[in-house]
């Protein structure tokens, strides 16, 4: 086998034919209102903001921008539903609503996958195989908990918190909505969900699903908008709990804002995950794991393996193989079923990635970017790997949230652990080795909420997810995820 990287251009005779999914499956309305108390408000009653397809910069639809009064109405609807309906609905009945929602997501999964890919820019392969099935699985999993809370390990008859305000990011729009709503509803709370500014559409389809499930009005309310809408939700005195997923910077501000108030809080924030490769790791799987770790979802993943720590003895070979694999990644139309890396979600995010990559170059790291052709329209960034990275470089310390990998090396397991933990974050890490005892030794010493051994970026509703240190607190998923929505 040649060790020379093959460029896409040299694979011309192997080129894939386009295999596009149909955008028309999305069935989008031209404009959307807010989902409050079981019905959509009149879109014309709100300032309408366009939401773009980041792959084309075309407007997909316009959505309402919720202002303080809208948030207030949503919170009051949630409170009323909590007081009059949801708190007197038995666990078994709550469970059945959640099972219904899970089934409806499965039924409309193809449509949801297209909507997600259009609005977010992620490859249809990922929205189809990861985002949407996992969203359904989350509702299915937590449905079963609703009438078994006495057995969840928090004592008998654990009480819900009340009204939960939930603010979610743009990287996994529907999945994050499911991570927030499913445990909250199972535990007996009512919700006001604030989708991300750039990716509101799948949550609005979910609102339709909630109507189809005949979830009682007000149990879930969905208010679209920007940071000001989220701030109004955080500030609202009628909210008993805030669950936020997003940047550490905003999480810090929310925690400070809620300080001294009775509002419960969980935060799932940024990360700078280390993917640690030992010299005995199975190389084919490991190369795929590195690729999945950083290029999955264009690197718009808080737990991305954005720092590759590779043992010196195998560094040359790993980098050679990695470069060849990066060169073969198919970057382009997110709706094409063969696409590996889609569009960057927004102009703002692209600018941030470009700024940090420029910092990487100016600080002396060596840049390699795929030679792939990028589309003319839309927001794109070629998969990029930096070598000669030192721990003090910005690209080794700051979350880039894009398809950019920083490679560092180590000699001993102690050094690997020390470098992995040399960050203020603590969300996820990867360990690659065939030696189980060493893997567990390393895992014990990593300060991270999730550790993937010989795999990366795996998610499951039964598996608690969340960070330590400045990656936040609280867990989503599993029995532990219920604690975020119970007064325990």
């Amino acid at each position: 086998m040649s060790s020379r990287p093959l460029a896409n251009s040299e694979l011309g005779w192997l080129a894939y034919d386009p295999a596009p999914e149909s955008a028309s499956l999305a069935r989008l309305a031209p404009s959307y209102g807010l989902f409050i108390n079981g019905t959509f408000t009149d879109p014309g009653a709100h300032e309408q903001v366009p939401t773009l397809n980041p792959a084309t910069e075309a407007t997909l639809a316009t959505v309402a921008h919720a202002v303080d009064e809208d948030v207030d109405r949503a919170v009051r609807a949630a409170r009323h539903a909590y007081d009059t309906v949801w708190s007197v609905t038995s666990g078994a009945e709550r469970a059945k609503y959640l099972f219904r929602i899970a089934r409806l997501i499965q039924e409309r999964s193809r449509e949801l996958a297209v909507v997600e890919t259009l609005d977010n820019g992620k490859p249809i392969r990922e929205s189809r195989d990861v985002d949407i099935p996992l969203a359904a699985a989350h509702f299915f999993y937590y449905a079963g908990w609703a009438d078994k809370l006495d057995h969840a390990g928090y004592g008998a008859n654990p009480r819900p918190l009340g009204v939960a305000g939930q603010i979610i990011p743009w990287n996994f729009p529907l999945l994050m909505a499911a991570w927030k709503l499913a445990p909250a509803l199972a535990a007996g709370n009512t919700c006001v969900l604030k989708p991300a500014e750039t990716t509101p559409l799948s949550a609005l389809i979910l609102a339709e699903i909630l109507q189809q499930a005949e979830l009682p009005p007000g149990v879930v309310n969905i208010v679209t908008g920007d940071g000001a809408t989220g701030a109004a939700l955080v500030e609202h005195p009628g909210v008993d709990k805030i669950a936020f997923t997003g940047s550490t910077e905003v999480g810090r501000a929310i925690q400070a804002r809620l300080a001294g108030r009775g509002t419960h809080l969980t935060l799932e924030l940024g990360g700078k995950g280390a993917n640690i490769v030992f010299d005995d790791a199975p190389i084919d799987e490991m190369i795929e794991g590195i690729i999945d770790g950083i290029f999955f979802n264009q690197g718009h993943v808080c737990c991305a393996g954005s720092r590759l720590l590779v043992q010196e003895t195998v560094a040359d070979e790993v980098l050679r193989r990695l470069e060849r694999r990066v060169e073969q990644l198919r970057v382009g139309d997110p709706l094409d079923k063969n696409t590996d890396v889609g569009a960057i979600n927004s102009r703002a995010q692209l600018t941030r990635i470009e700024e940090l990559v420029a910092a990487g170059e100016s600080e002396g790291a060596t840049r390699y970017s795929s030679s792939c052709a990028l589309p003319e329209q839309g927001y794109w960034f070629a998969p990029t790997v930096f070598t000669d990275v030192s721990q003090t470089h910005r690209i080794a310390r700051e979350e880039i949230f894009g398809p950019v990998l920083s490679v560092l090396t180590f000699r001993t397991p102690e050094e690997a652990v020390s470098k992995a933990n040399n960050t203020t974050y603590g969300l996820a890490c990867g360990v690659w080795s065939e030696k189980g005892s060493r893997t567990l030794w390393v895992a014990e010493r990593l300060r991270a909420g999730v550790i993937w051994a010989n795999t990366y970026n795996r998610f499951d509703p039964t598996s608690p997810f969340g960070g330590v240190r400045e990656s936040g607190f609280g867990r989503e998923g599993g029995r532990q995820g219920l604690a975020a929505y119970l007064d325990v």
């Binding site: 699985a137 390990g153 928090y154 004592g155 550490t248 999480g251 810090r252 501000a253 925690q255 400070a256 300080a259 001294g260 108030r261 935060l267 924030l269 203020t424 189980g436 893997t439 567990l440 895992a443 300060r447 991270a448 909420g449 999730v450 550790i451 993937w452 051994a453 010989n454 795999t455 795996r458 499951d460 039964t462 598996s463 608690p464 997810f465 969340g466 330590v468 240190r469 400045e470 990656s471 936040g472 607190f473 867990r475 599993g478 029995r479 532990q480 604690a483 007064d487 325990v488």
Partner: protein, 283 residues
Amino acid sequence: MSERLDVRKTYKLLIDGAFPRSESGRTYEVVDAHGAFVANVARASRKDVRDAVRAARAAQPRWWGASAYNRGQVLYRWAEMADARSHELAEQVAAAEGLSAADARASVGRAVDRLVWYAGWTDKVTQVFGGANPVAGPFFNFSLPVPSGVVAVLAPRDSSLEGFVDVVAAPLCVGNAVIALASATRPLPAVLLGEMSATADVPGGVVNVLTGSLEELAPVLASHEDVDGIDLEGALGATGDLAAVAAASIKRVLRPGHGGAEAPLRRLRAFVETSTVWHTVGQ
């Protein structure tokens, strides 16, 4: 015939297993419940806080790295030491809280029993809080409770010993290192219990006890970037300000009144993280 003159004791800080006076040389007067002078107690400085944090950070891996069985025995040993010196503790609790001798003895008894209760938790939390997760795929997946790391606790103002035991032993038994700020007005039972920890095989730096001004020291603890969590039980009116300061480094914050008997495990869980490991299964 004259009575024998007492040999009085100087009450000092506990930092890194040693008993320094405050590096600042400052002290303050502690009086009993009736206003009578009891002692000049060390008044810790910001530098003492930083020294304690450094000691706690350095000691924590070894404490967590010890077996749960061993940590349980060390905490139980601490309870043995406290029980053996319960008269001394009761005397100070009575003076500090204005209790009768019998009530003070009862309070010390409850405090020691509480310590025994926590000693028994060290090797239970992993099974009670953790477990295996049946993920859909060829993986073995398990979640373990792990300590947050370095935890600062503001001991309650009034409950000089029982309250102190709760705020210190809970984070300790799950593997954290602790920096405790004793009640400013009733510090002596805490100082005594700290002394006893040093003869109970608690490794140096794992338990640090500071005395001094809440207003001066609590903000230093709340803002210190190498403190992972803070229990504000004794924060009094400063809860909101301290919680806001703690937000800068995304600290775990336990609010006053949230670790009580109605939710006995809340305090145990407050400074525990869930660490989840996925491992591939294959031939």
